[in-house]
Amino acid sequence: MASQLALKSRINSTTSLGKIFNAQEMIASSHIAKARNVALNAKPYTDAIFDAVQALAAHTHIDHPIMKTHDRGDGHARVAVLALTADRGMAGAYTSSIIRETEGLLAHLDSEGKDPQLYVYGRRGVSYYKYRNRDVAGTWDGDSDHPGVEVAESISSALMDAYMKPEDEHGVSELYVVFTEFVNMVVQKVRVLRMLPVELIRPAVDTSDGITMAELAEPDDADDPASEVSPLYSFEPSVDEVLDAILPKYIQSRIHECLLTAAASETASRQNAMHTATDNANNLIDSLTRELNASRQAAITQELTEIIGSADALNKEEE
């Protein structure tokens, strides 16, 4: 049995670790509210862009490189994979699940004959791939638990550059994002999203019921078969320029949205991990205290036995 001194020092160190875990848990839970607020605050912008892109899709025939799969020969298409990981540890399996999913996706893309280029956000992920000497096309880190617009901007502009470049200059033809979706405080799910080329959920243009968005808004034009594009919207300065300006913003806001949900998930999974760690520390303290008590009792019993034994011996001598 370990000495009482050793047990006491273990209990002390576990207690102080427990305090740290508890503090981390509190910090994480206070950050969740903030992360949620940030996500909610960014939502109107994302919605506005989404509505605008929907309007564009409904009223024009979008012919923009972002919207369609590049036909770039066969067999050797470069694709970009962006993995969103955490900057700091102590978040349970957060980063490792992302990395596992990313590895799976990379293997899958490889088996399809594509050439995946890896982009990583978050210090943990970056150091994972650095340590293994893997080729990483781009990395970003900092503020993974409260990512600002600037980070989203730099990530999306780098990825857009790679996407718009022709194949012979290392351009990519698709973009996948691996991030953690915030389902609720307890459940966070790793998801793989194909972000580029953009797939729009077009409003159902079903002429058989005679109800489309354009017709609802402006019934006069609906009967004109010559105009495939409903002249409902006017674009300033021109459709092409509006497309060129809005689609990159759309990508940026989607990436920002992913970053924000990833940040909320990171905080939540950190809170969960720290909660478990606090519980474990408390359990450990309990069992160590029990062991300490047992060892103290044993020592007392031994002392008593010794005293009684020696007293008995003295009494025997007197007799």
Binding site: N41, P44, A52, A55, F235, P237, I246
Partner: protein
Amino acid sequence: MADKKVLQVNMVAADHPVWSGTATSVTIPGTEGQMGILPDHEPLLSIIKGGTVSVVDPSGERHSFEVADGFISFDSNKLTIAVERGRDVVRTSGAD
């Protein structure tokens, strides 16, 4: 004056909503110069560049906002101004 036509304005920046409310006219910095928008404007989707957006509310008060580049969309009397960054700069009364 009482039943003056108004439009709904909703101005959002990438990370927070900036302002929303009703207005009688809105001036935005379009790519080809300032553009004024009055109620019942035709549906419009336009790029804007950095500058000042000013909104006149029904009481005649003028609100000014400093914005970075973005775009506006106007449809069924609702104006959405989405900008990268935006903030409320000066709030001067239209009377003076």
